[in-house]
């Protein structure tokens, strides 16, 4: 028993020794270590930001998955027709809890283009579809009574300084009817939603009076299912129901709907990958070059170590360890910088960066840490093996 315990303490001691030795070497040429660390740090900060952006999109999809919502659109895309009669038919289907038309208005507010999102929906149903959104029941009643009323995301109202009763004129771009909305209340949502919701009927009546394009079109339909595991089944049932009608539909989960916008960006993933590979390769060279400098300076020293009985493996481990320590510290620093940068973007513009860094954490961070350690391994391998294979005689003879 005692021998085993002894062995254990011996091993711990040895590791402590090696770590101490690595640390001393690391701090010997502080400037060089610092520069290498900073170099790795800034490059990994970039990778953190790029991968964080991808992670944000993933979080977006995950967020959307929680709420059992389906999006019904025309098979032709956003410019297609989803007749308003489809909404009632969807409501009548098995497994559907609530459904609302959801028409993107895209109007200009005063002179601002795309200042915030505006959707025409059904006041009686929309808060059943988004049941995680909260609104004061009196304000909701008021909105149901007011034909040209609207409710606003609380964050948006606060940002703009709007109070109940505020008039919000919107000039149509896609639709030729202009809205003159009155704010009836605000709603709270878990994530910035940055939207104004108005009554779809108000828009439709206006368009009908003008005999303008777009009358009778629900745009898209958002529906919530009763059970989470029925999403796919209900989606298929909806599409089958309309397949042979004049206006066939394409129904997908809210997550897939969100993914559609991500897909529109094109091969961003490939692009990020290419940049990542270039950066990692470049950093391996930087590390290799720095480690080569350090070991060259220490040739005599390594020979002395070997002369007093250090094994090849130990020399190898020490130098590889030093390289990994440098890149790991740099990597951790980079992830911190990149993370702060993402957090800053979230604070400054929560509309485009709706997730804080904390919410995006995932395995990708661990991967980045592994990548930074791997950079050290790859960069350190040549100098380390050269030092390990150095014969004592050669090392002592060489004058640096």
């Amino acid at each position: 028993m005692t021998s085993l315990a002894n062995e254990k303490t011996k091993a711990t001691k040895l590791i402590m020794h090696i770590l101490f030795y690595i640390w001393r070497n690391l701090t010997r040429n502080k400037l060089r270590s610092m520069l290498t660390i900073l170099s790795v740090g800034f490059s990994l900060a970039l990778m953190t930001v790029l991968h964080g952006y991808q992670a944000m999109q993933a979080s977006w999809g995950k967020e959307a998955e929680k709420y059992q919502r389906l999006v019904v659109m025309s098979t032709q895309g956003f410019s297609g027709q989803v007749p308003i009669a489809h909404v009632d038919r969807v409501r009548g289907m098995d497994g559907v809890e609530a459904a609302t038309p959801y028409a993107w208005f895209g109007g200009k507010y005063k002179d601002e283009e795309m200042a915030f999102a505006q959707f025409g929906c059904d006041p009686a149903a929309v808060f059943n579809v988004w049941d995680e959104f909260k609104i004061d029941s009196q304000q909701l009643e008021e909105w149901k009574r007011t034909r040209n009323g609207c409710v606003v995301d609380r964050r948006l109202a606060e940002k703009r300084g709007w109070k109940v009763g505020e008039r919000i004129p919107l000039q149509g771009t896609f639709y030729s009817f202009n809205l003159d909305l009155v704010m009836c209340g605000t709603f709270d949502s878990p994530k910035t939603n940055d939207s104004v919701w108005f009554n779809w009927l108000y828009l439709d009546e206006g368009l009908q009076a003008m005999k303008a394009r777009g009358a009778g079109n629900a745009g898209t339909i958002f529906a919530r299912t009763q059970k989470a595991d029925e999403l796919a089944k209900v989606a298929k049932a909806i599409d089958d129901r309309f397949a042979s009608s004049e206006n066939p539909t394409r129904t997908q989960t809210e997550a897939a709907f969100a993914q559609m916008f991500v897909d529109m960006l094109g091969n961003v993933r490939v692009f990020i990958l290419i940049i990542g590979v270039a950066v990692v390769f470049s950093l391996s060279l930087v590390t290799a070059s720095a480690m080569a400098m350090s070991t060259r300076e220490r040739t005599t020293e390594v020979a002395v170590l070997k002369a007093i009985g250090f094994s090849r493996r130990r020399v190898l481990v020490t130098i590889l360890g030093e390289a990994c320590a440098i890149t790991l510290i740099g990597g951790l620093m980079g992830i911190t910088i990149g993370g702060s940068f993402l957090e800053l973007l979230h604070v400054v513009s929560s509309q485009f960066f709706p997730f804080s860094f904390r919410e995006m954490l995932g395995t990708w961070i661990v991967n980045l840490i592994f990548v930074s350690a791997a950079i050290g391994l790859v960069g350190g391998i040549v100098p380390a093996t050269r030092a390990a294979q150095l014969t004592v005689i050669d090392g002592l003879r060489r004058v640096v």
Binding site: L31, G77, S176, M260
Partner: protein, 387 residues
């Protein structure tokens, strides 16, 4: 002044370190130039799409062709306006068009995205910058045919020659590929005006009118005439301004490019500094000797800065050269003004390459400054004594 040959030789003697630094800065410059080339390609496609004398007539209040609608009799009146240029046969250069957006799958695993389909007549096609059919033939009216660019055929399912594109359950056969000088027209699918409105079951519909003015004077009169007409309720935008607006779509990518450049330049600067510190440290004696034989501090500072800049410039040149095989390589992204796909080719023009070179110089200067200062500050005696 210390001759530059001294620096060249130094770089050559420590060739392993030099090579590693050159390749690592080269990679960094390459990644940045790649991003800039992407933005440049996108902007170029939009920039050349606008003919200075062309006007796009839309319904008042809209800013995009895709959301506009114009009545047929109004379009007819527009074509009779004074000041529109005419072609050789005396026809006014004026084209009524219908534009719609379809959601279609990309080839491979690229998900779905939006696709612009434009219905127009022969006149409209002829008005696009150097429009020509490169494979197959032009569409015939009345038989549901489309033409598109080769790039689009590669990116979208059902868009290759001979394949059939479905629009509202009507199948349109792809009969040809066209080119239009790499303009944004090459991101669209074109068909006959009435075939498209027929398929969309809006036989009378028109989105916009595209016309060419006789000259600058006629353009300003026409702009005024169209914008101020109370009865028409129209808006006219000159084409360069129209596409200028769409360029905002590229702003996000542009910022991303700048952020990438900044982070990577910082990273590479530290790497360059490392190399140069090592160079200075190993040459203590040399520096002492140079000082002893009378070279001024300033010329030593300059010499080390030069060496550092040379080192990074080599990398920069390598990085820029590395992007050239990708010149003309086509890609695509979303045009956030129309919410649809725009395809374009990477472009590494002089400006983009210059930016890459400047970035390398900046790395060299900043990275080399502190090591060079250290070299200068070394006292001669101590420097000479160093091993």
């Amino acid at each position: 002044m210390i001759p530059a040959k001294y620096n060249v030789r130094n770089l050559r003697v420590r060739w392993v370190t030099t090579l590693m630094t050159v390749v690592s800065t080269g990679l960094v410059v390459w990644a940045t130039v790649l991003t800039f080339g992407l933005v440049e390609g996108l902007e170029h496609a939009l920039r050349i799409s606008g003919e200075p004398l062309d006007l796009i007539v839309l319904r008042k209040g809209t800013t995009e062709e895709t959301s506009s609608s114009i009545e047929q009799n109004v379009a007819k009146e527009i074509s009779n306006l004074e000041g529109i240029a005419t072609d050789a046969t005396g026809q006014p250069l004026c084209s009524s068009e219908f534009v719609t957006i379809l959601t279609k799958p990309r080839r491979g695993d690229g998900g779905t995205t939006n696709l612009i389909v434009r219905g127009l007549q022969e006149m409209g096609r002829a008005m696009r910058p150097s429009f020509k059919i490169v494979r197959g033939r032009d569409v015939k009216p009345g038989v549901n045919e489309v033409i598109t660019s080769e790039r689009m055929a590669e990116r979208f399912q059902n868009l290759a020659l001979g394949e059939k594109l479905e629009i509202n359950k009507v199948l349109f056969e792809v009969v040809g590929y066209f080119e239009a000088a790499g303009s944004s027209a090459e991101s669209e699918v074109w068909t006959d005006l009435r075939d498209l409105t027929g398929a969309r079951r809006t036989p009378e519909a028109l989105s916009c009118v595209n016309l060419r003015c006789r000259d600058e004077a006629a353009k300003s009169t026409l702009l005024k005439r169209l914008r101020e007409d109370e009865q028409f309720k129209l808006d006219a935008i000159d084409e360069p301004a129209y596409f200028e607006r769409q360029m905002n779509a590229a702003v996000a990518i542009k910022y991303a490019g700048i952020a990438i450049a900044l982070f990577l330049t910082m990273g590479a600067m530290f790497a360059a500094a490392n190399t140069m510190y090592a160079a200075v440290a190993s040459r203590g004696r040399e520096i002492g000797a140079l000082r002893a034989i009378g070279f001024s501090r300033r010329s030593i500072l300059f010499s080390f800065l030069l060496e550092s800049v040379m080192l990074c410039l080599l990398g920069g040149a390598l990085g820029c050269l590395g992007t050239l095989p990708l010149n003309g390589f086509s890609t695509g992204t979303a045009n956030w003004a129309t919410f649809s796909e725009i395809t374009f080719a990477f472009r590494f023009g002089p400006t983009v390459l210059m930016q890459g070179v400047l970035m390398a110089v900046a790395m060299g200067l900043v990275g080399g400054l502190f090591p060079a200062l250290r070299a200068v500050r070394m006292p001669i005696i101590q420097a000479l004594r160093e091993t």
